[in-house]
Symmetry: C2
Subunit: 409 residues, 2 copies
């Protein structure tokens, strides 16, 4: 009992620490503002845009598009009628007025920094239509925290995440008919921040565009996936930006994914270093559920050491399993060698990926050095991944009241 | 004499090998085409666009902008009146008709892959107005070779580089009044290739836009630069894409460059690994000119091992110095330790960066672990970097006839 209370307290601190840091950033900002109050360029908008400034322009009813059948939902192919936009111009005092308006193309100067130097980042979130008809977004505060971290790394302006959450909620309300009515589907939310300066030269962008688009989605992958593992390719490395959701982490993976597909694999299992640490699987975090030498069941996942993205589903899976307290949880590096040994000894029970797009995705095999390693994930009687998925879905679709699923107003 | 002949032969092979590979690729393509000739989607445009299809739309004279004074030329801020564009759509048979038209904004779907996953790459080339009034482009075939390599890594369509060279030449002819008349300046050429599919999901783009913009430029940096070296940051790593000119290599450097500037440095000296190998300086390749323990003068530069960009000025510097035969040339890893020892023993004569934007840029100091390491590059009586720069300028501005400077028709 004492341990559980301690765990809960720790979790609370972890959950709240970004709020503390935001508060700290805000008070630092106010102090700086105080010192510079005579400089006329210093305005509130330097720090953040505000929901209270949001303007909305609705589509003409004739422009509204037909909603797709749930069965036709291919990930990321169909978008809703509206989008959210707010621009940043350093010379105009920073963030401008936010706006929800019709979904439309973006016009960019051909030298825009995003097009040349990948000064860009994004987030992935989901809204779910609950059993009670209410729409809930899953842990949006964590996405906002990560998005601001990415912005700092890309030299792009940061903002108050709560203001963006409120703006996005407004967008969802405007397009609420697009939130699917089936539990097999949801509304994917894609906040994006790009550098728009129309000047060549590798330097930070003095102007930026933050926008958000929405798309109704079904399942990201079909069933269990086969992964392609080749130590010749590396996704991230110490001193890089593998723990930020920046565009730069994705472009270089395309060619490896193509290779994976040629080997009949859906995703790449990214390895790192001579010891071939398992780091991520495609765009997912990765978990191994196994029996250790003492006969204990263990859920292991790579640690947040800069080489992997701090996934929100990853964090939620760890927290759910900690709450259950049924087995050990280890955040530590796992190597290919260790995994292969576990498979040989029939001690690897399950392997699954986690991410906002797929929630939880079982792995059934790995193509490695010309051989296929089979993982019995989907052959377990009551697989752990199914139990966790059920718990997550229950929270997301409002079958149980939970602070992680935040209803939009 | 024998050695020189051998060297020349080797160089010839190296220079011509990409043509051979292109030829090989072309013949493979033709073979594949032959096998698939009954499939109706297989068209010539699948392989490349063609200069013979180029259409030109000139600006209305009222739209033409005033040319800037050479003294006002800030790198990458002023663009010419026209641009080149050609789009690729897999569903429409591949490459479409190329077009030179007025310089204008680019319209993109908000989900365009370039804006989210950095599916993008570019090149940097220059055109020079020679002493004889003719305009020459410096080694464009090497840029085309590198651009196709980048395209392959980004999962974007490749093309026949000769066709793009001819299209770019046409663009330069249209905007020829923009090629500066002073030897302190030139016309910077920026071919860019971006993935334009309007769908979310990390996968290759079925549509793309290749475009080229031009800007008259002066010097990239003023004089000698100070570099910021911090082993905490890594630009590229084995198994990554550091040897491709993809946007993904640049976005993550912005934050480090900002740190460099806060320490009074113009660029970052990128280090790699525990032994702190010197790899690149900002967007430049790096050279050290020193006296070794035998009293011999040596020009050293990191090898093309995947960690650095295969620079065209880098290659040209090596080839020029090989031709001179005045000192040893070594392509090998150089560590910070070695460099510091050379400085302490007064044996490091010069350090300079090379790149298309700056041509050759001397380094006068390095900020490293809180200390400033001074390099006597600009204090030499007859610095090597000045001698090489003179040779390059003589070629680029047509003071000597040379196959590297290709006159546009």
């Amino acid at each position: 009992m004492a341990i559980t209370a301690k765990r809960c307290a720790c979790r609370l601190v972890l959950e709240q620490q970004h709020k503390f840091f935001r508060q700290l950033a805000r008070s630092c900002y106010l102090k700086v503002k105080e010192e510079f109050k005579n400089l006329d360029y210093e305005t509130e908008s330097e720090y953040t845009f505000k929901y209270s400034d949001l303007q909305t322009t609705l589509c003409d009813p004739s422009q509204l598009r037909q909603k797709p059948e749930v069965a036709d939902l291919k990930f990321g192919h169909i978008f809703t009628d509206h989008m959210f936009k707010v621009s940043y111009h350093k010379d105009l005092g920073g963030w401008q007025k936010p706006h929800v308006g019709p979904f439309e193309n973006i016009e960019l100067h051909p030298a825009a920094k995003v097009l040349h130097y990948a000064i860009e980042l994004f987030e992935g979130m989901k809204a779910y239509r609950g059993a009670d008809g209410r729409i809930r977004v899953f842990r949006p505060d964590l996405n906002m925290h990560r998005m601001n971290n990415s912005a700092e790394s890309a030299g792009l302006p940061t903002f108050d995440g709560n203001e963006l959450i409120k703006c996005i909620n407004r967008l969802i309300v405007v397009d609420q008919e697009w939130v699917p009515h089936y539990e097999s589907s949801s509304l994917y939310i894609r906040p994006t921040l790009i550098g728009t300066d129309g000047t060549l030269g590798v330097m930070s962008s003095n102007s930026a565009l933050l926008y958000t688009i929405l798309c109704p989605v079904g399942h990201y992958f079909g069933g269990a996936v086969r992964l392609f593992a080749d130590p010749a390719f590396t996704r991230a490395w110490p001193g890089g930006c593998g723990d930020r959701k920046m565009g730069a982490n994705y472009g270089p993976t395309i060619r490896v994914n193509q290779m994976a597909q040629r080997h009949g694999c859906q995703q790449t299992l990214w390895l790192y270093g001579k010891e071939q640490q398992i780091t991520e699987a495609g765009t997912m975090n990765i978990f191994l559920f196994y029996v250790n030498e003492l006969g204990e069941r263990v859920l292991a996942t790579p640690p947040l050491n800069g080489l992997i993205l701090p996934g929100i589903i990853r964090q939620s899976v760890i927290e759910i399993c900690e709450e259950w307290g049924d087995f050990r949880i280890e955040e530590r590096p796992v190597t290919m060698d260790e995994m292969i040994k576990l498979v040989r000894k029939n001690r690897l029970l399950e392997m699954f990926g986690t991410g906002t797009a797929c929630t939880i995705c079982p792995v059934d095999s790995i193509y490695y050095k010309g051989q296929l390693i089979r993982i019995p994930t989907v052959e377990q009687k009551l697989p752990l991944f199914v139990k966790i998925r059920k718990r997550l879905l229950a929270i997301q679709y409002g079958h149980i009241e939970h602070p992680w699923a935040v209803p939009i107003e």
